[in-house]
C-alpha cells in the first residue's frame, strides 16, 4: 500500500457491534463543523464498497457477528480496521457479559485501537491521522 494512493481520499465505514451508542455520538461528531474530518481527507461513506477504513465499536454480540463479517468482506483491500472505544478493545464495561464477545476490535483484528469510554472526537481524529498508510 502506497501512501500516495490514499491521500486525502480515505473512505470510513462504521460498524456498531453492540456498542452503547456513546462511541457513535463521537464518531458522528467528527463530521460536525468543529472537527470536520473531510478537511483531513476522510469521508464517512455509506457503502463498505467505498471504504478504506472500517471503524468498529462494541464488545461484538452473537447477533452482529455475521453482519459485521459480511460488511468487512465487502470492503476492497487493502483496508484498515480501527477499533473505537474500550468495548471494542475488549476491556469495556460489558466485557464478560453473557452476550458480549471479546471486543469487536479483537475479533476483527483491528490495526489500531482508540481507547476511551468513549474516546473524544479529537482522540479518534488523531488516531485516524496516525494510521500506518504505507507498507
Amino acid at each position: 500500500m502506497k501512501r500516495e494512493t490514499f491521500r486525502k481520499s480515505l473512505g470510513v465505514r462504521h460498524v456498531a457491534c453492540g456498542s452503547c451508542n456513546g462511541c457513535e455520538h463521537e464518531m458522528n461528531a467528527l463530521s460536525n463543523a468543529f472537527y470536520d474530518i473531510t478537511q483531513d481527507g476522510y469521508d464517512i461513506v455509506a457503502s463498505p464498497r467505498h471504504a478504506d477504513i472500517v471503524t468498529v465499536t462494541g464488545p461484538m454480540t452473537p447477533a452482529m457477528r455475521a453482519a459485521a463479517r459480511e460488511t468487512l468482506d465487502a470492503v476492497p483491500r487493502p483496508r484498515i480496521v480501527v477499533a473505537i472505544g474500550d468495548c471494542a478493545a475488549g476491556e469495556g464495561p460489558w466485557s464478560g457479559a453473557p452476550s458480549a464477545g471479546p471486543g469487536a476490535g479483537i475479533e476483527l483484528q483491528a490495526t489500531i485501537t482508540v481507547r476511551g469510554c468513549p474516546p473524544t472526537p479529537e482522540e479518534i481524529r488523531a488516531a485516524l491521522k496516525s494510521l500506518p498508510l504505507s507498507s
Binding site: 457513535e24 455520538h25 464517512i44 455509506a46 447477533a63 469495556g92 464495561p93 460489558w94
Partner: protein, 466 residues
Amino acid sequence: MNGVHAIAAERFADRVEAECLTALPLGAYARAEEVRYLFLAASGPYALAHPREAEAPLRAVSGTFPLFSWDEREMAQEWGVRFDALPDARPLRGTAGEMPPAIVAQGAGLMRFVVGPVHAGINEPGRFTFSSGGETIVHLDAQLSYAHRGVERHVEGLGALQAAPLVARICGSCSAARSFAYARALEQLAGIELAREVELARLVLAEFERIYNHLGDLAASAAGAGWGPGFASGMALKERAIRLCRLAGGHRLLFDAIVPGGVGAQTLRERPRIARELADLARDIEAYLTRLFAQSSTVARWQRAGVVSRESAHAFGAVGPAHRASRGEIDVRTFAPYGAYREFAVRIAHASGGDSFGRLRVKRDEIRESLRLIGAALAEIGDAALPDPQPMAVPAGDATAVVEGPRGSEVVALHTGGDGILTRLHVISASYRNWPLVARAMDGNIVPDFPLVNKSFNLCYACADR
C-alpha cells in the same frame, strides 16, 4: 396506590387491563419468583404481581394492549413465563445469532425489502423488513436486539453501588436519565434524602441531556427532509451542548455525572463560565429553532408523515415526546414529580397532530423549557458548595424509580439481597416502549419518509436491547 399488589392468576390479566385505563403502564418483567407489571400513578410507581409457584399460564395482556407485546415476548423467551394467547409468539431476540423470522405482508403486487442490521450512516444496528406496494409501506417489522449484551444478567451478583458505572453505560444517549433513576431507586431503598443543591444540580444535568439529544434529533430530521444547512447548524449546536455537558458534569455524554447519593465530583465547578456559555448557546439555539421551523419545504415534509393517533399512542403505550405529540398529557416531571422537579412548575410541551412535525415541535418547545429550567436551577444553587455523594448502606429489598428522559419514562426496577448485592435489575427504556410504535407509524406512508419519521422519534437501540 403504591407498593406491590399480589393478584391471583385467573384475575391477573383483567386487573392489568383495568389498570391500563387509569394509570400509566410502564412495562413488565419477570424474575424466578414472580411476574410484575408496573404502573405509574401521581404518587409514584407501583406493581401488580403474580407469584410464579403455581405456574398456571397467564392470559397475555398484549392481546388487548399491544404495549406489553415486547415485555411478554421477553418474559417468555428469557424467563420461561407461560402465556395463553400471545398474539406474537416469536422470541423477542435472536438466539445464537439467528433472528426470528420477520413478519411480511403477502398479496399481489407487494414486495419486500430488508434494511440493516448495518445502516448507511453511523447508527446503531437493527433490521427493518418493509412490505410495500410500490412506494407505499404496507407493513414494517422492526427487529432489534443486535446490541443485546445481557447487561441485566451481568450485573446480578455485583454490589448495587459498584454497578452504577455499568448502569451509566447501558446506553450512551440517555445515560444521565438512567443513572438518575438508578440512584433514586437505591436512595429510596436506603431511605436517604439529598441536599437541595444536589437535587438542583441533578435537574441541570438531566436537562442538558435532553437539550443535546433533542438538538441532534432536530438536526437529523432536517437531514431526513433534505435540508443540509439545518443539519449542519443543528449538529454544531449539539456539539456545543455536549461541550457544556462536559463542563457541567465532567463528561461529554454525562457518564457518571449522577451517582448514587449525589452527583460526581466534577459537577458544576465553573459556574460563571457555564452561565456565560449557556447564555450564548441559548441565543444561538433560539435563532436556529426559528430558522428551522420557518423552512417551509422542510416542515412540509414533516407534516402528516408518520401519524400516530391518540388511540394507537395509548394502546402501544407511547411515552415522552411521542406520547405528548399525540395529545398525551403525561410528563413524569409533572405527573409524578421527583427531586428538584417538585419545586419548579415545568411547562409541558404538547402537540395534537401525532405526526413527525408534532413530535419535533414538542422537542423544540422542550429545548426552550430545559434552557429556562437550567437557568432557574443555577440561579437557585448560586455559589453553594455541592456536597460529596452521601454514603449509604443498601439493605435487602426492592425499589422502582421513574424519571423523564429525553425520549420519555426511564424505568429502573431493582432487587437486592444481603450486603446490597443486586439480585435482579430490570431496565425499561422509553425507546423499548416506543419502538413498536415507530413501525406502526409507517403504515400507509411512503418509503422515502422512513428516515425522517424514524428521526422524529430517534429512539435508541442499546437501552432497548440491553
